[in-house]
């Protein structure tokens, strides 16, 4: 068996999982399982939220060690699922290392839903959250407008490569300002509070928070606290953005429109 390719496959699998938002425990576990297929004496995988180290060693070979820095992160559960599937098949000897490597290369860039569908998802979250919180017909319309503004704001900020704090803050600001303006100009009597709550849901760091908890429980305190901090920072930026939006609207109340 080609040890080098095996290590490369293991690290690639880990990298995709880590970027796509899997827990540290699962990433280490996957790399470990793949490395063990080599049957060498020691195989180690160390994963942080920012990088991966994997090593394979035996008296009969020179140690193979790969370090990989991981930057940029976006939740993609489909990739986590697919990599999990490939590693499972590889460990059960249903596919070869070469096949697994090829598949992982494909998975790295796979996308299930188009940009439009994702934007529709953002609008959908705001509209259906309004329903979930007990809103009615006119509230949906306002939620759809606010959700569309959010989708555009997120699109623009990702093109501009804004950092998380600015992106969430500005998006939340626009949500609050849009919802209040729609209430004043177009649809008086709507419940702007539940519309704002619904629209900020795609920004609120529920996913990061969940992963942070599971990392901490698994004893990965370093990445657990890092992710927890990330969740706190994002929550604060959303809060600051919403606050600024409401305040600016009140401040301009009656003057601009």
């Amino acid at each position: 068996m080609n040890d080098k390719l095996l290590v490369e496959t293991a690290v690639l699998a880990g990298e995709i999982m880590l970027i796509s938002g899997a827990e540290i425990f699962r990433v280490e576990n996957t790399i470990d399982h793949i490395l063990r297929k080599a049957g060498r004496e020691t195989s180690e995988a160390i994963v942080f939220s920012t990088g991966i180290f994997a090593s394979l060693n035996d008296l009969s070979i020179e140690a193979i060690t790969v370090a990989r820095r991981v930057t940029g992160r976006s939740t993609n559960l489909n990739r986590v699922y697919l990599v999990n599937d490939v590693s499972r098949k590889l460990c059960e000897d249903r596919i070869t290392v070469e096949e697994a490597y090829g598949k992982l290369k494909e998975i790295r860039t796979t996308m299930q839903y188009s940009r439009w569908l994702k934007d529709a998802g953002i609008v959908g979250v705001s509209v259906f959250f309004t329903l979930l919180l007990g809103g009615g017909g006119r509230d949906f319309l306002a939620a759809a407008i606010t959700g569309a503004v959010l989708a555009v704001a997120m699109e623009v900020s990702s093109r501009l490569r804004l950092n998380d704090f600015c992106m969430n803050g500005i998006s939340a600001f626009l949500i609050a300002f849009t919802a209040l303006s729609v209430e004043k100009l177009l649809l008086p009597g709507i419940r702007s509070d539940i519309i704002i709550i619904g629209a900020i849901m795609p920004l609120v760091p529920g996913v990061i928070f969940t992963t942070a908890i599971r990392d901490t429980l698994n004893g990965d305190y370093a990445s657990g606290t890092a992710r927890m901090m990330e969740a706190v920072v994002i929550a604060l930026s959303v809060a600051a953005g919403v606050g600024a939006g409401i305040r600016l609207f009140q401040f301009m109340g009656g003057q601009l429109w």
Partner: protein, 139 residues
């Protein structure tokens, strides 16, 4: 309550698109989320406590996620992160901020504490379910 549960179902499905949830599990994740929100509403009405509601509904969602993960041989995360979306305390964060702005520090800190309590309750529920399933797996 029925309408709200339907809302939760479609909200989770919409969120699933943003998270790139595998296509074949989208509807299942929506169902888990809807069941979670229904239990949230029922506990909230019966006990009058959002923290208890968040705790019990997350417990249910985590249980359903672990069971689905084992049936379909998929990572737990796939079902869990979308399913808990309705319980995430976005509303408490918003209210806390909006009361800061309307100069009501008392209500603002009430909702801030509520945000922390709900987050803690969600964390605790996920903790418990993860630990339980680890015990079962070891046997």
């Amino acid at each position: 309550m029925v309408m709200q549960t339907i809302g939760a179902f479609f909200a989770v499905i919409s969120f699933a698109l943003v998270l790139e949830l595998p296509k074949k599990y989208v509807v299942l994740a929506g169902g888990i989320g809807a069941a979670g929100w229904l239990s949230y509403l029922m506990v909230d009405t019966a006990a009058g406590s959002v923290t208890a509601a968040a705790f019990l509904s997350t417990l249910l969602v985590a249980l359903a996620s672990h069971v689905s993960a084992r049936i379909f041989k998929a990572p737990v995360t796939v079902f869990l992160v979308a399913g808990i979306l309705p319980s995430v305390p976005g509303a408490s964060i918003y209210r806390s901020v909006s009361y800061v702005i309307s100069n009501d520090p008392e209500l603002s800190s009430h909702y801030l504490v509520q945000t922390l309590q709900i987050s803690g309750a969600i964390a605790m529920a996920i903790f418990i379910m993860d630990s339980l399933f680890r015990l079962i797996q070891k046997k």
